[in-house]
């Protein structure tokens, strides 16, 4: 009886696969980041602040949901603990790790980022970044052989410095997805180094028929327009304040 059932189930999944080739499921990513040296002696409150923020990163979880042609990457929603003082550092950690929602559609070759900034929700649409440079460097991540791909995010009006992005992807899991809207590599990204922050996969689940819908709330804007707006606002507010001080 039991064997029969299992057999039936196996058969069903088999049919499911062969009919739809529906490769869907989810990946859990966690993050960490390099700490700053907090030297012996009188402590620097700023380094301390930074390190306290970094130490809270392990409480954050990110989810990547995917199906055949779409993926959605976002932070796991969780209630903030009331341990009064720590709340602030967790908020700061969330900002550090990113609270944006990344929606990717391989068919349209587009990434949509839902991002809250300056008190407004934006829907930033951009083409999938494809200018990966593959290297021959490899490493093992939990027994998966990973290849290294690199990309430089060039400085723009918002980011004063270039940001180096390194993706470690494994061809053994042939899914073209990854964290933070980084996609289009011949294998799942198990580790992504975004500047100082590392996103690393801890759990992969395969399921049938994961529905993914595009975020719709927010002001639709292109990434160039977004950059222009933000830099204008930084000028308007940031520097005004600085000159006053």
């Amino acid at each position: 009886m039991n064997i029969k059932l299992t057999f039936l189930l196996l058969f069903l999944t088999f049919i499911g696969f062969s009919q739809n080739h529906e490769n869907s499921g989810s990946v859990v990513y966690k993050i960490n980041a390099s700490k700053k040296k907090s030297d012996q002696g009188v402590k620097d409150s700023n380094i301390d602040f930074y390190n306290r923020t970094i130490s809270r990163l392990d409480e954050l979880k990110y989810h990547l949901e995917f199906n055949k042609e779409k993926s959605l990457f976002k932070i796991e929603n969780a209630l903030v603990n009331d341990t009064d003082k720590s709340d602030f550092f967790l908020k700061s950690a969330k900002l550090f790790g990113g609270e944006e929602i990344y929606y990717t559609n391989l068919k349209d070759k587009k990434v949509t980022i839902q991002r809250t900034m300056l008190g407004e929700i934006f829907l930033i649409e951009d083409a999938i970044q494809t200018d990966w440079k593959l290297t021959s460097e490899t490493k093992l991540i939990a027994n998966y052989k990973c290849l290294k791909a690199e990309m430089i995010l060039e400085k723009n009006k918002i980011y004063v410095n270039d940001i180096k992005i390194i993706a470690w992807f494994t061809p053994e899991i042939p899914l073209p997805f990854g964290p933070r809207g980084y996609n289009g590599l011949p294998g799942l990204i198990l580790e992504l180094n975004y500047g100082d922050i590392n996103y690393y996969a801890t759990e992969i689940k395969f399921e049938n028929q994961v529905q993914i819908s595009k975020p719709t709330q927010g002001i639709k804007i292109t990434s160039e327009e977004f950059e222009t707006y933000i830099s204008q606002k930084i000028d308007e507010y940031g520097f005004e304040n600085k000159s006053k001080n």
């Binding site: 080739h21 009188v42 700023n46 009331d82 008190g119 395969f206 005004e240």
Partner: protein
Amino acid sequence: MKLFHIKNTILLLLAGFSSYAQQIKVSGKVTDSLQDPLAYANILAIPEDDSQGVRFAITEDNGSYQLGLSKNQTYNLTVSFLGFTPYTKVLTTTEENLIQNFVLKENPNQLDEVILNYTPPIVVKKDTITYDVSRFVTGEERKLRDALKKLPGVEVDRAGNVTVQGKKVTKVLVENKTFFTGDSKLAVNNIPADAVDKVEILDNYNEVAMLKGLQDNEDMAMNIKLKEDKKKFTFGDLEAGAGIKDRYVIHPNLFYYSPKTNVNFIGDLNNQGVKSFSFRDYLEFEGGFGKLLSDASSYFDLFNSDFARYLNNQDYTANTNQFGALNIRQAINKATDISGYIISSNSKTNTESHITNEYLNNEDPYFENRTTTNNFNNFFTIGKLTLNYKPSFEEDFAYNSFIKVTNNDSKGLINTINPIQNNSIATNTDIKALNLKQNITYSRKLSKNHTGTLEATYTFQNDKPLTEWLTNQQILQGLIPLEDDVIYDILQTKRNSAHNVNAIVKDYWVLNNFNHIYTSVGVNAAFTNFYNQDLQQLSNGTINNFNTAGFGNDFGYDFLNTFVGLEYKFQIGIATFKPMLYTHFYSWQTQQFEEKSNHSKALILPQFTTKIEFNNSEKINFKYSLNARFPGIEQLANNFVLNNFNSVYKGNATLENQLYHTVSLNYHKFSLFRNLNLNLNTNFNKKVEHFKNVTQLQGIEQYSTPVFFDLPEHSWSVNGAISKKINKIRYKLRSTFNYNDFYQILNNDTHLNISKSVSSTVSAETFFKKLPNIEIGYKKDFNAYRSSNIISNFENDNFFAILQYDFLRDFIFSGRLCL
């Protein structure tokens, strides 16, 4: 370094070019065994020759792909698709383009869950430029600024601002630790040049991680490494000045620096009313803004402390300051830090006030004109010692000890003109007070889901006010038994002492992402004593003690509150709810001389909060709570006390607790993008059980005592503000509405008073960077007050204009006009 970068880019460009030139195209289709196309399948080409790059392609929607490979190379080709067995093939390219189709076979052995045990290693990175100072200096440099000027790419302006390759240094560190306030001016003008070994420029130094995403960043920090034998030095400055009308100022500022010890002394001696020690300095003494940020409440505590108020107070007719502040930070080891400060101040202030009081208690209201002048002499010393111990991020221990000694005396003259009497009263007061506070906080992560905190505070307070009233007319006739004399000399001695112990233990239990339970157990204990003696000193030397007329307390009040609290916090969608229930057990004892009385009571006090967060900048907060408040000792002490030259007070030992409901609702929206700021708040308060002063008024003299009162009183307020900036002008509209009803018991009549007020302001303010800025506005108030049979309404119109203009870089012109 720059040069290398360019070279590298050219090299890469060339490489890209050459490989591109020698490329061929491999194209085709990937399908399953039924010839259905496989979309988004991977084709990975790993060359046998390491010098060639790894190539890849992903199939289109229709299963087609294009792969660019180098000519005459051998590649290991892998075609893979999830749910299918990967297909591998060795492919050797020629000079020709190729067409390759692949058929993948389904793989029935599928993964359904993978757990990866892997954490990327953490590295410590720094973007650093290091200057070996000895290579650039000649030995004639005196201060750091002279040495910095010799370094290539570094500029120092006259004020002491440092720029490196065009970027401003915003923070100065010495041996990796912030140098006092971190201000570059202090460092470059004071650190001796011959102590400097190396200068490190840390690019992209992010003070606040939060800003990292927004401005990635022009911040630069400069780290000064000191020579091994020159790690300690002292420096300072002295500001001294004299001016017209005997005005003077002396302001020394001294520093001692060593890697483990920082000492800063600030002195101030002036009669200009200027306080050289600012609130900012005070913050720095408390450990800097960054440290206080972690606990917003402690920042506000500090901001509202009487010392901060003293720093900001500018209302006086004459002012003399003598001031000294010393701050020490000492590192014991990696995890332990001790910091402390002591501040002493002696100031003389003269104040003067004119007040007109209208008494509306009977058919014929009358006025009193009162002029008060005071000569204050304030002396205080405050000291604080903080010990921080943080062995890991899971554990945190802090000990604080705070002491404050005050000695204030004042000489004043009160002049009152009213229909009953015209009188002058001289007053002398002398208040000696001691305030001691010790506080421990300890928190520890107990397990993955539990965090425990312990907080304990002990405070001791001892006030000894002495007051003397001198007048040549009888005052408070019938209330105090004055004996005839030429000058009536009334003397009051008060003593107020309190020991207070609070302790609370709390467990934070995270059930899952959306459900938390917090439990707490706590105790508050207060042991207080109040003593007063009021008497008349007769000119013949005898003493007329008022205790014959029921004056004088020797009152003890011991209060114990133990409580258990349960809070459940949960989230549904964008809304967070937190119902709370606190059960309190109170017991207290009062004692007047030998007479004791014991009481006990239990109360259940619920609270409820809701927060709806539409996004980071649009929120609704709702709060409800039922509160109990117990009387202070002076409200209980049931013998007479002289309160002022015209009032006598008597407590009531039978008072229990006040009970009131508070409800508040806030809505807040803020959008920098739309330059819009919107706020709406409403608060409602209902007192169900409270105390009420029963007052007997005769002329301007009064006697009052509190009684328990259970007629409800309400207060309600609504306020809102909206501001929007369009181009360079910000428009603002602010409105408030207040409603209050309360009872007054005066000369055996109980009446209900109702007051209502509405106030609205419209204004516009310009935000030009260089032009003068102006704010103009109009304010309108309506007030209605109803008390028994008197109804009064009044309106107020106010037009205002404020002009501000920065000119010649360092001057600010500001003007204000009110109509």
